[in-house]
């Protein structure tokens, strides 16, 4: 069995583990590190519930191997709030009822966080395009767009 040492920094905490080459990043983060904020929706790269920011780049963590994340700095949904203090985007999701069942929310938040970092004043079209890789099966897109718009400058 092919096992590799992996060191990653997730939300400011460094983790060192041995991982099998076949392990997907999402499984490593959820099962080995017990950071279960990021979700597995489709497991086929379509739904975006597993979205994370790896070295500043938004990725779907079900289409990346854990071993490929060695040496990277990762941000997941757990890192958005400061203790009990939600991020402005998280507060906006709450205020705009941008979550129904909530399953897609971690991915939506990470995609919107990545967007706002790159483009603090996105247009409605830019918001839609940026969230294209995230599927909400409650189809609650309208309020999700409203929540992102509300924190856009």
């Amino acid at each position: 069995m092919s096992s590799h040492p992996v060191t990653v920094t997730i939300n400011g905490v460094e983790y060192e583990r041995e991982v099998e080459a076949r392990k997907l990043l999402i499984h490593f983060v959820r099962d080995d590190l017990d950071l279960t904020g990021s979700h597995i929706g489709c497991d086929t790269g379509n739904c975006g519930a597993c979205s994370m920011i790896v070295d500043g780049t938004l990725v779907k963590s079900c289409m990346m191997l854990a071993v490929q994340a060695d040496g990277t700095t990762i941000e997941t949904v757990e890192g958005l709030a400061d203790g009990d203090q939600l991020s402005p985007l998280q507060r906006s999701f709450s205020e705009h009822h941008a979550l129904q069942c909530g399953y897609c929310t971690p991915g939506m938040l990470m995609s919107a966080t990545a967007l706002l970092r790159e483009n603090p004043s996105p247009s409605e079209d830019e918001i839609r395009k940026a969230l294209q890789g995230n599927i909400c099966r409650c189809t609650g897109y309208w309020n999700i767009f409203e929540a992102v718009k509300a924190v856009a400058k």
Binding site: A21, K23, G48, T57, V59, M63, K129
Partner: protein, 267 residues
């Protein structure tokens, strides 16, 4: 999903990557992984060794030569291509990769991975065929250059053989290009697509209708001439849940006309 057991290697040079690929029949290059990792989940591919190309800077980057020739490293991501000032020299490239899937996929998916996967529904095989791209393939015996017409060999098959790697793609200068597709949802998988290039004589390449892109050279970009070229090509497209063969053939004609018109508008 748990993948089948696999070995993993991350070479530090192209030479190392080539020896790793040559040393094992079951070795496979891992580019962006936006196709390969998914087909591994489905066990449609079961490599024994993944040779991760992500550390190889020699395979990344975009250069624009004085004569307008673009050189795109195989490991250049769609996002890097979209954001590249050099790539604006051939505007169709950014326009098309900007419609591939979504932000996350564009951030990791690579130009080389797209063409080497050669899924008949991919965007880049017909585009590269229409614009006359050339593919640089490295192997134990050095590097060879292959034109698009000889690169795409079959469904999921290209001229990149065992123990070989696509290193870069060169694209001649030109601006008069077009692309049209009917997709499953906005920016989704193509049901049918067509690329056109009118830099010199017109070249139209159809995707999704055969195992490899179908290159047509209509007499002109006029609608009648393009339709006639598609009809005369003897295409026998596949039927699937998204489109019957008959509908796909209809789309091929319409999309070829649209792509050719766009190319002509840009002359």
């Amino acid at each position: 999903m748990l993948l089948r057991e696999v070995e993993y290697a991350k070479p530090a040079s192209v030479a190392d990557a080539l020896s790793l690929l040559a040393a094992n029949d079951g070795a496979r290059a891992l580019a962006g992984g936006q196709t390969l990792i998914n087909v591994m989940k489905a066990r449609a591919a079961s490599p024994d060794v993944l040779v991760d190309l992500n550390g190889l800077d020699a395979l990344k980057g975009i250069e624009l030569a004085g004569d307008g020739t673009l050189t795109i490293g195989a490991m250049t991501t769609y996002t890097e291509l979209l954001e590249s000032a050099e790539a604006k020299a051939r505007p169709i490239l950014g326009e098309v990769v900007g419609t591939i899937a979504d932000v996350q996929v564009r951030n990791r998916g690579t130009v080389g991975g797209n063409v080497c996967a050669n899924d008949p529904t991919n965007h880049l095989p017909p585009l590269m065929t229409a614009i006359g791209a050339r593919f640089h393939i490295a192997g134990a015996g050095g590097e060879r250059e292959v034109p698009a017409g000889e690169f795409f060999l079959g469904v999921y098959m290209t001229a990149v053989g065992p123990g070989e790697l696509l290193t870069k793609i060169t694209i001649p200068a030109g601006k008069s290009d077009g692309f049209a597709a009917i997709t499953l949802g906005v920016d989704g998988t193509c049901i049918c697509n067509a690329a056109a290039s009118l830099n010199g004589s017109l070249r139209v390449a159809l995707g999704c209708v055969d195992a490899v892109p179908v290159l047509l050279q209509p007499a002109s970009a006029e609608e009648g001439a393009v339709r006639e070229a598609v009809r005369g090509a003897g295409i026998d497209p596949p039927s699937d849940v998204h489109a019957s063969a008959e509908y796909r053939l209809h789309l091929a004609e319409v999309l070829a006309v649209r792509a050719a018109r766009q190319a002509q508008e840009r002359t």
